[in-house]
């Protein structure tokens, strides 16, 4: 039986144009056979709404400054309250080790710090998370 295609939603705030990394990640995930939905959000609840509508397995959020703790906390709460715990959340960006610890404690499945690993290895990590 064929492996189910992983569906992943990637998003950044409309206020931050530093998208190069996320777009490169999107291409890498597509090349690895995943279905990537790429969006930008004004308010973070748009991400959860879209994730539900698109029936995704993973939400990937990226931060170059600009609201990470607030947004990820909101997402985790919305997923929990909406009974969407099966959707995994992964985060990357200019994150400190202390912030990573806090995010993992919140239930984020994986957090990439700057310089941690190669983008080419991300698809395998995602596959491992989805199971």
């Amino acid at each position: 039986m064929a492996e189910k295609t992983i569906r992943i939603l990637l998003s950044k705030t409309t206020q931050d144009g530093h998208e190069s990394a996320l777009r490169y990640i999107a291409q890498t995930l597509r090349d690895a056979g995943m279905e990537v939905i790429y969006m930008r959000h004004e308010m973070i609840n748009e991400v959860v709404k879209t994730a539900q509508e698109e029936d995704v397995d993973v939400i990937g959020l990226q931060y170059y400054g600009g609201g990470m703790m607030y947004e990820v906390t909101s997402v985790m709460n919305m997923l929990k309250n909406g009974n969407m715990d099966d959707i995994k959340v992964v985060v990357g960006g200019t994150i400190t080790p202390a912030e990573k610890k806090a995010l993992l404690e919140m239930g984020v499945a994986e957090v990439w710090l700057p310089g941690q690993g190669r983008v080419l290895d991300i698809p395998d990590v995602i596959k491992g998370i989805v199971g």
Binding site: T13, T14, Q15, D16, G17, H18, E19, S20, A21, R23, Y24, Q27, R40, E42, M43, Y64, G65, G66, G67, M68, M69, Y70, E71, T94, T96, P97, L113, P114, G115, R118, V119, L120
Partner: protein, 580 residues
């Protein structure tokens, strides 16, 4: 360039060199690695060495002397000897008052407008947070979590007073507005803050017009105004500052942004200049003297680790600008034909996040490339850019880098010391040639707007950017400490912290009090006039050119906030993604 006899000698020299090289290549010694072909980031070949034959066809007048058309060798007969390199590294975080404290720190360690001039004030290139860039007040729901995070929060004149406390804006280098689609509102705050804008005659106050920011092939793509509107707003800004603030300049060709997104040096020049040409053509339609408009514009190029290519690129930039202004726009004034590079900024993308002190070396190399290419100002990056807002230690290192390069080396004593170098002149001409090829391609696609809206421009940048990232990811492009010579022991770095809850609370309370204390009727009337001016930009162009800035200044005087003006702009003009 050379006489028949000299060419014959050069030919003989080159043939001898080739024979010697063949011998060297045939040497079986294990101490020698095979000679591999090399290319710059532009794809242009980097020959193993250069000689007279590589520059024989370059017209001598294309190289020229410093200070004359086409300004390949610099914009002045001499430069740093009389007009030292300027320091324009940006900073900003949390609230304006905390940013002002950082400036005081910088001043205390010798940071000055011109490097080395103790009597001058510090330069203040202000980095603003995401809500301020977007045109949101800090208490807007969309600003939640982002206030003061990667820049300082500015929404009122009071914020500017706090930001520039102790500084005479007439006497220093200030970058007002920062990278923002709300730059008109912010600049209007600034204009009001200095009370009499004509006093800015004395200052080299740099305004940033990144109204074209969504042409932000810069960061791949960015929400902003529709392209034609963005052009009108750029023209409006140029007109206002040309008429009211003679000594101020407008940064418009943002090569830095497109290069950070991954573009090649050739694309960087071509897209930046094509952008400026499109705006200047619109300036002409709006009745402006193109010579005056072009003279106002300065470039913001990228400095990267392709040292030789960067130097050649910057020199080619000046030459392509000069010839394009002359041939395409009919400019005749030397001020329009020459083009300040202000600032050349060290590449953020060149600075990895592991073994960050290595970045001190990288930053020095990049700043050096800028100096050797005779740029007017340099944005020296901080070594911890990849991790956070720079710490005091990192920003001090950046200041010291500039000071050491300027005050301890002999480079400033000679203007364009590499002028006449076989390699540099050959590369400069090759890059120039490729830039014209790309500019022609844009013309063939129907001009700048069509090239943009078709998605071709963004496609070029996206492809080059992804290729670069793949190379780094695979280790094909070496990043010492990141993908080569990587060690397991990575000492944790104490990054600069995010704004405190107290700081954010203070910022929000301040803007709310500002609104509560004002004569709301006056403000509403003034904002209605801003809306009117925006509608006239939409529907009565180019007759309405020049009205918007004045309306925004009056609104700032009536205590409107930047976010209130930004909201009107977005409502009237539309705001989104238009890159095709």
């Amino acid at each position: 360039m050379f006489s028949e006899e000299q060419l014959k000698k050069a030919q003989e020299m080159e043939e001898r060199w080739k024979e010697n090289l063949d011998q060297m290549k045939a040497d079986p010694s294990p101490m020698l690695t095979p000679l591999k072909p090399a290319k710059g980031y532009s794809g242009i070949e980097l020959k193993p060495t250069y000689g007279p034959l590589d520059i024989k066809d370059i017209p001598l007048e294309d190289i020229g002397m410093p200070g004359e058309f086409p300004y390949t060798r610099g914009n002045r007969p001499v430069h740093y000897q009389m007009d030292p390199l300027m320091y324009s590294s940006g900073f900003g975080f949390n609230s304006p008052e905390e940013t002002a404290e950082r400036r005081n720190f910088l001043h205390s360690i010798g940071q000055r407008f011109h490097i080395g001039r103790d009597e001058e004030p510090p330069s203040h290139v202000c980095v603003i947070d995401l809500p301020t860039q977007y045109g949101l007040d800090p208490d807007d729901p969309l600003a939640q979590g982002k206030v003061g995070d990667c820049g300082t929060s500015i929404s009122t004149i009071e914020d500017l007073k706090l930001l520039y406390d102790g500084l005479d804006p007439e006497k220093t280098l200030i970058l007002a507005g920062g990278c923002s689609s709300n730059v008109i509102a912010l600049n209007s705050m600034f204009a009001h803050y200095v009370t009499d804008i004509r006093k800015l005659d004395l200052a080299k106050t740099i305004q940033v017009t990144i109204i074209m920011y969504h042409h932000g092939w810069g960061n791949r793509d960015h929400a902003s105004y529709p392209p034609k509107t963005a052009t009108k707003l750029s023209v409006e800004t140029i007109k206002f500052y040309t008429e009211n603030v003679p000594k101020c300049h407008i940064v418009m060709d943002h090569g830095y942004d497109v290069a950070e997104a991954g573009s090649t040096p050739v694309i960087e020049i071509a897209f930046s200049i094509a952008n400026c040409v499109a705006v200047l053509e619109e300036c002409a339609k709006a009745g402006m003297d193109v010579n005056k408009a072009a003279a106002k514009i300065v470039a913001h190029p990228h400095l990267n680790m392709n040292f030789l290519e960067t130097i050649a690129k910057l020199r080619a930039w000046r030459r392509v600008w000069a010839k394009t202004m002359k041939e395409k726009l009919g400019c005749t004034s030397p001020l329009a034909l020459r083009h300040d590079l202000h600032p050349g900024q060290c590449a953020g993308t060149a600075l990895p996040s592991l073994e960050i002190h290595n970045n001190i070396i990288r930053i020095t190399v990049m700043a050096l490339a800028g100096m050797l290419a005779d740029i007017e100002a340099v944005w020296v990056a901080s070594y911890d850019e990849a991790l956070c807002i720079p710490t005091e230690d990192a920003v001090k290192m950046a200041v010291r880098t500039g000071q050491i390069l300027v005050e301890e080396t002999d480079i400033p004593h000679v203007t364009d010391p590499l002028g006449g170098s076989y390699c540099i002149e050959a590369l400069t001409s090759r890059i120039e040639e490729e830039a014209y090829r790309t500019l022609k391609k844009i013309d063939d696609l129907g001009g700048y707007y069509k090239a943009w809206e078709s998605g071709w421009m963004r496609g070029e940048v996206e492809r080059a950017g992804n290729e670069r990232m793949i190379k780094i990811d695979r280790g094909e492009m070496v990043k010492v400490g990141l993908n080569k010579y990587k060690t397991e022991d990575v000492s944790p770095y104490q990054a600069f912290s995010r704004p405190s809850e107290e700081s954010v609370k203070r910022i929000i309370e301040r803007v709310q009090k500002y609104r509560a204390d004002r004569d709301q009727t006056k403000t509403d009337i003034a904002l209605a006039k801003v809306r009117e001016a925006c509608l006239r930009i939409e529907h009565n162009w180019p007759e309405s050119c020049g009205e918007l800035h004045q309306a925004c200044i009056e609104a700032a005087r009536a205590k409107a906030t930047a976010g209130e003006m930004g909201k009107i702009f977005r409502e009237v003009f539309g705001f989104g993604y238009y890159s095709g």
